[in-house]
Amino acid sequence: MSDVNVTLHVNGVDYPVTIGYGRNLVSVLRTEIGLTGTKEGCDDCECGACMVLLDGQPINSCSYLAGQAQGRSITTVEGVMDGAELHPLQQNLLDAGGVQCGFCTPGMIISATALLARIPDPSEEEIRIGLSGNLCRCTGYTKIIEAVARTAAEAAATPSTLAP
């Protein structure tokens, strides 16, 4: 009675699920579909660990009803990789030391991916605003910002590397 049937289109794959009508998207991604890259942090729409792309725009999946995603395109951090190849942003985060405990990293990658799609050559201020919904308690942000800037610079040199 309180369940709804939804087909979620995640990283290019359709996942039909039957879920409680009030389930939030992060819990369905993690426990029904098994994509655990997306993290649940504050569960209060504050920290950005649960961020996914919905039709290309970053949203906090903890405060988004899974039912509302029917027919929309969802990208999680698992969908950012190109097969077994890390996305250049992921590689740069590793190289710059922008990953410590790693809990915020999936959300950071989602935010930064969306930022670079919108502004291919962001200023430091634009990077800071782009990542302002993602809390990191380890790195102090500097290395994460460096990684995003480096990714943008590399893409400017070889434009094809930013393809999602």
Binding site: Q68, S111, R128, G130, S132, L135
Partner: protein
Amino acid sequence: MSFTIAASVDEALAALANGARPVAGGSDLVVGARHGKSPLPDAIVAIDRLAELASVDSIDGELRIGALATHAQLMDHPLVIAAATGLADACALVGSPSTRNVGTIGGNVMNSSPAMDTGAPLLVLGARVELRSATATRTVPIAELWTGPGRNIAATDELCTAIVVPSPPARSGSAYVRLEYRRAMEIAVVGAGASVSLDDDGTIGTIAVALTAVAPTIIAVTGLDHLIGGVIDESALASIATAAAAQSTPITDLRASDAYRRHCVGVMARRAVEAAHRRAAGEVISVPVNRAFGIGAAR
């Protein structure tokens, strides 16, 4: 318990008439429910796909903002920046990019929080709110909408479908500023919106100031008529700050004491008027004023 996705406004209104509650971005509804503040409604109708409620248009000189327009959409919309700059200031301060992508102006207004950012600029701009039910449509001045924290005059079968901002007079400007402890994912500690229009000789033609998070609802500052015909100088700004503080009835909570809020809302009020006045005089101050003026956390 049910969840449906409305394919038309009529379908959404029919669902409301049957007791369902609307969800657009979910950033108030779902967060509130998950924290036990208010349980998720038994019947939910998703209205986020109703494209006809998401457009921003200039109609007969008025700015008509669909209730589903998001903060991200409004913060850099040319029509909003031109005619309701203070609203763009407010939208640019809401949450973070991810919350601005889902949060809607209709949701912000109807959630009726006294700390909402879009309320003060809409109040000083004399906005009207369009409420539709399955059987009727009415338009109410936004000054009459809110009745208390989280409360407003809309009936449960009414949906906010649009916000209408009247055409501003020539040589006018508006602004919204807030006190914040950090630059993102913040709720206004206190805030103020202002609109100012200038007469041909540069004196004040109209002035309105509204305050955020210092009363059970967003409130308009009264008793500013003595400023009309004068200029915005130190004594005018001081009297605005005094009036704002005197008319505030703030609470003490985790984020600030009542005395601190009362003092700071005066500071915010004068800064909002200063920015609105400078915009009215033709100066371009980038959105949001908080960043342009360096108000709030340094980074």
